[in-house]
Amino acid sequence: MIEIQNVTRDFKTDSASFRALSSINLKFQKGRFHTLLGPSGCGKTTLLRLIAGFETPTTGDILHNGRSILSLESHQRGFPMVFQSYALFPHMTVFENIAYGLRVRSTPSNDVRRHVEEIAEKLQLTEHLFKLPMQLSGGQQQRVALARSLILKPEVLLFDEPLSNLDSRLRVLLREEIRSLQIQNGFTAIYVTHDQEEAMSMSDHVVVMNHGCVMQTGSPEQIYFRPETEFVARFLGDVNILSPTWLSQISFSLKDLDFINSDPKNYSIAVRPEQIYLSTSENALKGRLLKKMFLGHRTRLTLSLHQQKLVADVPAQEATGLQTGMEIGFVFAPKETALVRPSQPDKTYDSILEPDL
């Protein structure tokens, strides 16, 4: 298990000081897949590099199995890292790249060959072993980088946005591969990404970060369906944020939410587009249809009610007869919504759901 205790990291330039991480406390359980998720500049990469030993915390401690590892240099920690740029050694063959860690550990060359061939087989690299990295495609290069780390049978493996340079098809393919390798080998993965889909599909445990702070941690389901802040709700996907004022106009009381006890002030409600359903019932809310967009498996409707725009994703066949300008009945279930604290407005991640009227 890796523990981050009260870690702060300041970067000083000539004129200014910048706090990349402030008082981080985290636990990464052994053998699980952890993701650090957040927009660029949120501190996720800095945190990963602190664990790897490429940076040192300004204050705080990092423990591995209960012992501080701050006094160990990166090469003494035994946490191989997979990089966005692959970082393969261009002057060595694929074989020598994969064998590098074993050579460092003075493994007898017979064993080196056996282990390299074994892992190359597993990652479909056998036919490329004697090529130079530049002769491989991006996907193959990242497989070599994976093999190079996996061959050491590490307890902890670090990933710094390893799939960002690949095209989307390969990305999906490789993330499944990484996840199944992690399950087979049982290493602890700490994986940095800004892609929420990647985070949700791979992880056991997601850490959402922003502005150098941890915003929320939990399973992918928890952070998707029960975001605690507007920021997390928006970062994990499209969402309707409904203010208390608007909710009172439709006579929706926060007390209706069964998962809270008191009536917190100023809290909003987050409802995902797929959690809004069309309804013909008398009690349904009535909104005007502003826009209709066919997405294939779903149809996206933009509705307006009491000056609030709402986006709903409904099954395509339900939306066939609908025309813009129509009054449409819809509902959402209180128990499916989440109660969110407003967070600082963050221009970059304002979702598409708040276009200019």
Partner: protein
């Protein structure tokens, strides 16, 4: 709450090395310059400004100072202009003869810096072949090559390469998509030139002007041969010291030479380069360069040929001069000059190669260490190393040479007359070249390569030996070649520190020129350039192939 033990451990060796390097730079770069200053304010009474007062009164300072600046500005403007025009046409258009310019830049790198002046004398001097057989008989006119105009001509031809290389790299880093964007907005080629290309290249134009200005001021070999009655600082300070034994007077002139150079360099480094728009990140998208047609093609190629041909003919003059029996009279082929001059200068040849062979590796090793400290360590004082090494670019060789004879003339570092004063001078003079070469290479290496190796368990020594060194090998090789060639062809600084027992080949060439043995001078130039070319070609064999 461990305050990062690891960082301190990492720091310790690099901090120590940084101090060591700074100490060396202080002794071999700054102390000599300080010694010049000291000698100008030391009088018989102890301390005073008598030397300055005397220099100003006797007019021995003011007139060469004005001449040097006048020459520097003129050559700076002309050479920049020539380089700009050539770079523009070869960068943006497909032009026959572009290879000529590349050939010239190569020749100017491997030839002794005053070789064109020799050729000029052989062609247009009083006994020159063109003067005697063409100008005098037909026009009854002998051109006056000794003085301002001859110097302007030769320095412009010698230094336009600086401007050409600088502007070519600026032009090639301008993404052609910018030009296409401009055309698509309806701007003509002319308009695009004035509104897009010219403004983007303005900082490089200034840089080029300032660097050539420094080169011209620092030039020693050409003025020594050609200046005649047009006195310039570098030559005057040399004559003061070696001719009149007036060390303090020479030092005053050397300082007067140093100041404008430093000023120009500081302006270039900290003002002009900050204004540069052109970023060198990313490769510009390749776009086919248009072929000029009709009159434009004729004019552009004419321009290239018109510039290149005279220079090429100057180089060929030296080549012919080396192999014909009597220049201007009997033009039958002979190897006599080669054989004779080699016999006379055998010692100097061996000394030159020996000394460069010792000094270039020192430059390389120190440059490599300095580059690693600059880019990969957190040691304090590294900015000082960078500033020191950059500023030495701006210090004219004459100044360094005078500094060395003043600084190492006495205990505890009595080096005068030994091999080591020449070695130290060349090693530290060329250190910045090696440093830049390694640094540029190191900048291109993704730091995650080293981090990757460390995360796989490799310690600092192993990372250095197995990852960094092989990856910067091209930079090491080119840094070494550059330092070596510069050592072999150096003249301005080392002319002060050579001695009876240790002489260098470039000094011998100058000696032949002064005694009007131009055929012998040409012969050595040709042999020297051939040897350097063989050497550079053979280092290319060690150059690893492109891996990215």
């Amino acid at each position: 709450m461990a305050k990062t033990d690891s960082q301190i451990k990492w720091l310790r060796p690099s901090q120590l090395i940084t101090f060591g390097l700074l100490l060396l730079l202080a002794i071999f770069v700054w102390w000599p310059i300080g010694s010049i200053l000291k000698s100008t304010i030391t009088t018989e009474a102890g301390f005073g400004f008598d030397h300055y007062r005397f220099a100003l009164q006797s007019n021995s300072l003011w007139s060469p100072f004005k001449n040097s600046l006048y020459l520097g500005v003129t050559v700076g403007v002309l050479a920049t202009l020539v380089g700009f025009i050539l770079a523009y046409f070869t960068s943006f258009y497909r032009l026959p003869g572009a290879f000529l310019i590349r050939g010239l830049t190569y020749l100017s790198m491997v030839s002794p810096p005053f070789m064109l002046a020799i050729a000029l004398i052989m062609l247009f001097g009083k006994q020159g072949i063109l003067t005697q057989s063409f100008l005098l008989p037909l026009f009854n006119w002998a051109p006056e090559i000794y003085g301002f105009y001859g110097l302007v001509l030769i320095e412009t031809l010698a230094y336009f390469c600086t401007s050409y290389l600088l502007l070519s790299s600026t032009f090639s880093s301008i993404d052609p998509i910018l030009l296409e964007a401009s055309y698509s907005q309806g701007a003509s080629r002319m308009k695009t030139f004035w509104k897009v290309i010219f403004p983007l290249s303005l900082p490089s134009l200034f840089t080029s002007f300032l660097l050539i200005f420094i080169e011209s001021l620092a030039d020693f070999g050409n003025p020594l041969i050609l200046s005649g009655n047009f006195k310039v600082l570098s030559v005057e300070s040399y004559l003061k010291i070696t001719g009149e034994y007036d060390t303090a007077g020479g030092s005053v002139l050397a300082l007067a030479l140093l100041l404008p150079c430093l000023l120009a360099y500081v302006i270039q480094k900290w003002v002009v380069s900050k204004k540069s728009f052109v970023t060198l990140t990313g490769k510009p998208s390749p776009s086919p360069r248009p072929q000029l047609k009709g009159l434009a093609l004729v004019m552009a190629s004419g321009l290239v040929v018109f510039t290149c041909l005279p220079i090429l003919s100057l180089y060929s003059t030296v080549l012919f001069g080396a192999f014909v029996k009597t220049w201007g009279a009997g033009h039958e082929f002979t190897l006599l000059h080669i054989v004779n001059s080699l016999r006379e200068t055998r010692e100097a040849f061996l000394d030159s190669f020996l000394i460069s062979g010792i000094s270039a590796p020192i430059s390389l090793v120190l440059g490599f260490i300095a580059a690693l400290i600059l880019l990969r360590s957190k040691a304090s004082g590294k900015q000082l190393i960078e500033a020191s090494s950059l500023l030495t670019f701006a210090v004219p060789g004459t100044v360094i040479g005078i500094g060395y004879i003043l600084a190492f003339n006495d205990h505890p570092l009595l080096l005068t007359g030994t091999l080591w004063i020449i070695v130290a001078l060349l090693a530290f003079r060329n250190l910045p070249l090696a440093l830049q070469s390694v640094k540029n290479n190191l900048l291109q290496i993704d730091p995650s390569m080293e981090e990757g190796a460390r995360s796989l368990g490799a310690g600092p020594t192993r990372v250095f030996a197995q990852i960094v060194t092989p990856l910067v090998a091209p930079g090491l090789i080119s840094g070494f070649s550059y330092a070596f060639v510069k050592s072999i062809t150096a003249i301005s600084a080392i002319i002060f520190v050579v001695s009876g027992s240790w002489n260098l080949i470039t000094v011998n060439i100058l000696g032949f020129v002064e005694t009007s043995h131009l055929s012998k001078a040409s012969a050595i130039c040709v042999v020297l350039m051939t040897l350097i070319t063989v050497l550079l070609t053979s280092t290319q064999i060690f150059m690893p192939k492109e891996r990215r």
